[in-house]
Amino acid sequence: MRWTLWVPLALFTFFLGLAGYQLTQPKDEFIPSTMVGKPLPEFSLEPMLEGAPGVSTADFQDGQPRLLNVWASWCLPCIAEAPHLDALKEEGAQIVGVAIRDTPENVARFLDQHGNPYSRIGSDPISAIQLEIGSSGVPETFVIDGAGIIRYQHIGDVRERDVPILLDQLEKAR
């Protein structure tokens, strides 16, 4: 019996195993940032609203860990996560907002309706910072430690069960 004749069957079995395994895995559509563990790139964003300061890299280097929330007034899941961001704020988290492709009027209206958990809001009209930190959608929430290093990425809207996780990550980043 020639062993080469068994090669196709072996390859096919390998494929079956792989496909079968992948079928049991949940389909993961998220693209994680590979910037986690690296310092925030240099950037400086104009303030979105009058009266609220803008955002720049230096704001993250004062020794205090912060949440960096990438969001937009036109994004529906952002409405869903608004109360949980408020809860995070009440627990003492400092939240810095970056509004993606947004206008001051819309942002102001959104904050009126859904509350304003942000200590600063920067305007990113061309997703420049979003691309810099490896974020691929809105909303996303990053944990930045006191030295300005990205420590954790949460993809999608923050749900109730995510609040303690994020607080925990903030604690770890201290």
Binding site: S33, L76, R101, I126, S127, A128, Q130, L131
Partner: protein, 155 residues
């Protein structure tokens, strides 16, 4: 002449098959009202630079779409990525530097052009092995046959 008729009728048949539906569709929830970034839909003035940008954009993956390059997508983030590519090319950056910049942020996923690395080497090794294998098989079979035929012309 007859050939033309056949071709024409075959064409009619095909034009029947390929009427539109809409997978070019993008979900409409991302209704940001801002205009797209300047270079999302604007070409660079220098044709050589635009060419380089186009080539790069065709090989970068849109992060919010299903399996499309940023050159083939109307998604806002794809537009912003095109803007990044064109402005960086305009600033004189090399395409591969821009690709590396994105790969640093999103991993190999963002590039359609896999580079040889610990996680991609089989992509390059397997075709070589296949070629080698094919060569060996051809050489062995045909070589053997020829020599047999020479030694035994009667068969």
């Amino acid at each position: 002449m007859a050939f033309r008729v056949i071709l024409a009728s075959a064409l009619c048949l095909v034009s029947l098959i390929i009427q539109p539906i809409g997978p070019a569709a993008s979900p409409a929830n991302a209704q940001d009202s801002l205009p797209p970034a300047p270079y999302a839909y604007q070409q660079l003035d220098n044709p050589a630079q635009e060419q380089a940008a186009m080539e790069l954009m065709h090989s970068l993956r849109c992060l919010t779409c299903q399996s499309q390059s940023i050159a083939d997508s109307d998604a806002p983030l794809a537009g912003d990525m095109r803007h990044q590519v064109r402005t960086r090319i305009l600033a004189g950056e090399e395409p591969e530097v821009i690709r590396a910049w994105l790969v640093e942020r999103y991993g190999d996923y963002v590039s359609y052009d896999p580079q040889i690395s610990a996680s991609t080497w089989p992509l390059f090794a397997v075709p070589l092995v296949l070629l080698l294998l094919a060569g060996i098989i051809l050489f062995k079979r045909l070589g053997r046959r020829e020599s047999q035929e020479h030694s035994d012309p009667g068969s």
